[in-house]
């Protein structure tokens, strides 16, 4: 997958183990963003014409276009709805998150 994935990370055990400087490795995600949303986008793959507009407009880049079908990374989707709004065939539905 060409998207950064959440890593497991243990905090430094002592002061000396902290990074030198105000530094951290890039591509270093230790938590996911999924808890934010109240709705999630669901793609109707039958209706989807793979125009890739949703992939383009997603502010968070969670739609992966690598495969035959688009895949949404729900770890980092915030449920903003831009994809559904911009989808021309209207095949993305914003579905309520079940609690």
């Amino acid at each position: 997958m060409s998207r950064p994935k959440v890593k497991s990370w243990d905090e430094p055990k002592n002061v000396d183990a902290y990074p030198v400087g105000a530094t951290c490795d890039s591509d270093h995600l230790v938590s996911i963003n999924a808890g934010w949303r109240s709705v999630r986008p669901v793609i109707d793959q039958e209706k989807c014409i793979m125009c890739l507009r949703c992939f383009l407009v997603c502010p968070d880049g969670v739609i992966d276009k690598a495969g035959d079908q688009l895949v949404i990374d729900y770890d980092y989707c915030k449920g903003c709805g831009v994809c559904a709004h911009e989808c021309r065939p209207k095949c993305i539905e914003m579905v309520k998150e079940d609690k």
Partner: protein, 389 residues
């Protein structure tokens, strides 16, 4: 090779020999000659560096941070108003552990406006996490530019260094300075080689990140630990420099005639030179006096101070600055290191030199005589004031 040059020239020569990759400096009296010389050296090819004409001091240090962030060697220079303009960048660079070397021409702060030398400017930035060294003469200025890079870039230090020269008194006065060869400096100061806190294509990093109330404290403690540990490196580098170039500066402090001194004057910068001459004169009159030169104010040489003053009855601390509402800043710093002594000497503050007011041999002789006198004396004295207080 010996040349008759001024303090600013000496800084430029030291920087040239240290081979920075990028120079980003904004002109301000009395540092201008240093940056002018550097531009001439870039023009004639004797210094192969990018010379950025930055549009302000804040951008000068910000650009130097950009340079340093990718592992290149940076240099900048400023003074007074410029130092305070770039002030927010100082803790920025030290927190980021960037080994930037900056020359500061100590100069008075407005208002009133004054372009002459005193130490008000650098005192403001004592808390910034930068190593601060104060040089006594042009030779030391040249030598410290080279040492500064070696200290700053040392794997166990990684801290920016401010090299302070007294404005005009040192920046603009001429003396015979030995300029080492490129080969000898190259042997002492290797090319910069940063990996831990820099951005590289092969090892992408995020720099100057945020840390919340959950982690910030630990980052800062680590920074402090490492700055304290730099004392050892400072002394080692000084020793190595002495072995390579024949000039030792004795590390964090230097002393003159302190071993059996009854009273000691504590100085920084060029006034030390005047003090040495006064000491010679008074010693010839059998007065047991000495000079303690604080070369570094950060890290602060508290152990060294205690060791030197342990047997004297009084010390006088010369401050070319005032911390308004209190006293001279170096005085406060020195006093706090005396606190843990069983029998600390009495400590007196001699404030002078503000706005470029001369501190003369007579002023220092007066100071010594006050210290030697049996009467009780006031804690804070102003030297060479032209009217009634």
């Amino acid at each position: 090779m010996k040349k008759f040059i001024c303090g600013n020239d000496a800084v430029a020569e030291g920087v040239r020999l240290s081979k920075p990759h990028v120079i980003s400096a904004y002109p301000i009296t009395p540092q201008t000659i240093a940056v002018e010389r550097l531009s001439e050296m870039v023009e004639d090819g004797s210094l192969k560096a990018e010379y950025m004409h930055v549009e302000s001091e804040h951008s000068a240090l910000a650009a130097a941070m950009g340079v340093s962030s990718v592992g290149a060697r940076a240099f900048t220079a400023t003074s007074s108003q410029g130092l305070l303009y770039m002030a927010e960048c100082l803790p920025y660079a030290s927190g980021a552990r960037m080994p930037i070397v900056m020359m500061n021409a100590n100069r008075a702060l407005a208002t009133p406006w004054n372009i002459y030398g005193d130490q008000m400017d650098s005192m403001f930035l004592l808390n910034s996490g930068w190593i601060q060294v104060y040089v006594e003469d042009a030779q030391e200025a040249l030598d410290m530019m080279i040492q500064a890079y070696k200290i700053a870039e040392h794997d166990e230090v990684l801290a920016p260094v401010m090299v302070n020269l007294d404005g005009f008194v040192l920046t603009h006065t001429y003396e015979l300075v030995d300029i080492p060869t490129h080969e000898s400096v190259d042997a002492f100061l290797p090319p910069i080689n940063m990996t831990k806190q820099v951005m590289r294509v092969e090892d992408p990093k995020s720099l100057c990140i945020s840390a919340g109330n959950d982690f910030n404290f630990e980052f800062k403690i680590k920074q402090e630990k490492d700055l304290q540990a730099s004392r050892k490196i400072i002394n080692e580098v000084d020793k190595e420099f002495g072995e390579a170039f024949g000039r030792f500066y004795n590390g964090l402090i230097d002393t003159y005639m302190c071993d059996d001194a009854e009273v000691i004057l504590v100085t920084t910068g060029s006034v030390t030179g005047t003090a040495r001459i006064v000491v010679d004169k008074l010693r010839a009159e059998n007065k047991k006096v000495g000079v303690l030169k604080l070369r570094y104010l950060r890290p602060f040489p508290s152990d060294e101070i205690r060791d030197v003053v342990k047997s004297c009855s009084r010390i006088g601390v010369v401050d070319k600055n005032i911390s308004f509402g209190y006293e001279g800043t170096i005085y406060t710093n020195v006093n706090s290191s005396l606190l843990s002594m069983e029998k600390a000497p009495e400590s007196i503050n001699f404030i002078g030199g503000l706005g470029g007011r001369d501190i003369t041999k007579n002023d220092l002789e007066d100071a010594f005589n006050k210290l030697l006198s049996q009467e009780s004396i006031e804690k804070v004295h102003y030297m060479n004031v032209r009217c009634e207080l």
